[in-house]
Symmetry: C2
Subunit: 420 residues, 2 copies
Amino acid sequence: MKFLNEVAEEFPSATSLAAGRPTDRFFNRFHPGMLLDKYAHESHMVGGCDLDDVRARVLQYGGTAGMINELVAWQLRTDEGISVPPNRVLITAGCQEALALCLPALCSDPADVVLVLNPTYIGATGAARASGVSVFGISSSFSCLVEAIEQSVCKLREEGKCARALYLIPSFDNPTGQVMDEAQRRAILASCVRHRIVVLEDNPYGLFRYDGPAVQPLAALDEAGCVIYLSTFSKTIAPAVRVGAATLPETLFGDRAASTALWNDLVERKSYLTVNTSQITQALVAGLLMDQNGTLKQWIKPALEWYRSNRNAMLSQLQATFPAISNQLRWNHPSGGFFLAVDLPFRFDAQAVVECANQYRVIVLPMSFFALDDSQDCRIRLSFSAVDPEQIRRGINSLADYVAYRIGRHSSVIEQVHAV
Amino acid sequence: MKFLNEVAEEFPSATSLAAGRPTDRFFNRFHPGMLLDKYAHESHMVGGCDLDDVRARVLQYGGTAGMINELVAWQLRTDEGISVPPNRVLITAGCQEALALCLPALCSDPADVVLVLNPTYIGATGAARASGVSVFGISSSFSCLVEAIEQSVCKLREEGKCARALYLIPSFDNPTGQVMDEAQRRAILASCVRHRIVVLEDNPYGLFRYDGPAVQPLAALDEAGCVIYLSTFSKTIAPAVRVGAATLPETLFGDRAASTALWNDLVERKSYLTVNTSQITQALVAGLLMDQNGTLKQWIKPALEWYRSNRNAMLSQLQATFPAISNQLRWNHPSGGFFLAVDLPFRFDAQAVVECANQYRVIVLPMSFFALDDSQDCRIRLSFSAVDPEQIRRGINSLADYVAYRIGRHSSVIEQVHAV
């Protein structure tokens, strides 16, 4: 990630289709002072607390597990269909901290392994590595995931290892953009229950669905108690709140004491990582959830519409720019989220990022950055969340120029590109 | 800590001399909305940035190492006499995250050990344990620390281990309240340089000095590059900002590349723990630092005066309450900070906390909670930061009743207590 930030800084005039951040176009609706007042007044009205006491309490140290657990449980129930008591919702400093807590807690033995898709979000593999947890990459596609899990479990067992957890972004995956249908979700759950594998379901993009059928999170379908749901307000509200949550099932594979023991372990680990999540930013999230009656669906609507039209613009531009070489180039049509994946007929590595940014003024991300092996060397990730349609048009045109240069069909493609 | 929180909740009418939090008596001067405006306007005026751009940028993801590094470097220079370039100041989610980053980075080999005082702050030993770092307890007193370091280094070497770091709160230690004089500091530095031990200097209470000579932090005295300075705004501003910093020396034992390598390692680890520290709370800290011209000394003055008079009240009350048994009871006279230590003529354990809270309505903390062995079993920590003089009077009187009950000199002491 450091490399990418530096490239973006080094070529500030290049169009970046690399950043996976939310648009800040609608951040001007977010008023910290008003939201803190909202939280204080509601706590005063509902809880009967003295207004000055609430304000002072917010600025203090707070409970390790969080201050706004009930409100987050309310939002999870309303927006995601996940029903859990507040004492199973652990508030974290963003989803990243939830990963840094859950991975070593679930994989505490050196033989324990977390299964991940290949490619997958580097924050997950990075958190695993940083805490000494072994990572095992399985299928890159949701369609053959159950088979891949079964095979991996056997293979690991032969090596004296044990698959303890499966990290997954089932809705509008980062980096691939793919979505898992309900039948696949139920099959994954059955497989994980059979092998006692805890699913770490990461769902930062779930509410940003542009078309296609709505699918419930795994945590909402989970009846056996095998899913820990990782959520974040970075995409729905703002990254700078650094508020997320790890939501545990009431029982872990039917065992209530096991879930409570895991909860206690996570809370203790949290106290040694960050003491507690900032109560100021928790109060900002709380103020907004109170203001929005426990749902963020209305709040995110302008951003969702923006992302949808950006996704459409990117797909149209890809279609318009690459017809002549489309037999050599493939991309998916994500029905939500921030990303799509493009298969190229050549390797695209760190050097290519620099070359492309330098000479063609577009920055894109090699899929190999997210990969555990060389299977992703000829793919890139394109992001359409933090750009506007004109940047998308320009970026895809520049990418087309670069692709033409790389595949040596310079002249004919350039002509077409400039006709678009 | 969980036990203690639960005791405090279970006996809400008991006076707590246990909480090590800052007073919230002066939090009403802290206005988040105004401070965010201050930060945005100053960035606009000084940096020439568009006001809306600044506001939007604050709400986004930010640099892993932080956004307000220059301002924090300015405050460290002004208030602590520590001169470092901003690119050695890593902004963290409170000092606890700095510990969680530094300990495994410095002690990456299974043979590596962090030296700590015994007793010491449990957040340090907890962070070490949580990241698999071995802890070795040395002296409980600053006066014989150099000898203890030398002996420990030899002892560890014989066991095939290596002392890599020394965790220390040299000014107004938590939990003992003691302070290290300049000669001791210079001797510690010399010893650590000799053995290539990195000092993790934790200094949350340094600005809260009530009397006695001013002593510079180890980091300000360090010419060899052996001190990482851990700072926090939890006590000077408010715990809920969750902003701290790990400040690296420009060279590590004279080696600039080694310091840069450690910096890069810490930044990468940080990206996998919390991505980046909330830019909202960073902006709050920045707004206050701008408003206060880079020093917090004026800002903390009301709290400092409050703590000083609380310390005085606690010492007076101890003196007034315990004269008859003072040959069996000893306490120190801290010249700053939040805590003092009392030696009791009997063991004081978790059961005693409950008994004392339940029957005598005062909550105090066993020193054994901070200890690595049984050497602290007959000591307690008293905190005077988050109480008022009347609570101190009541709390110490109740403690005297409990002490009298425990040492079986019930009647005579009770008489005296009630005469105070």
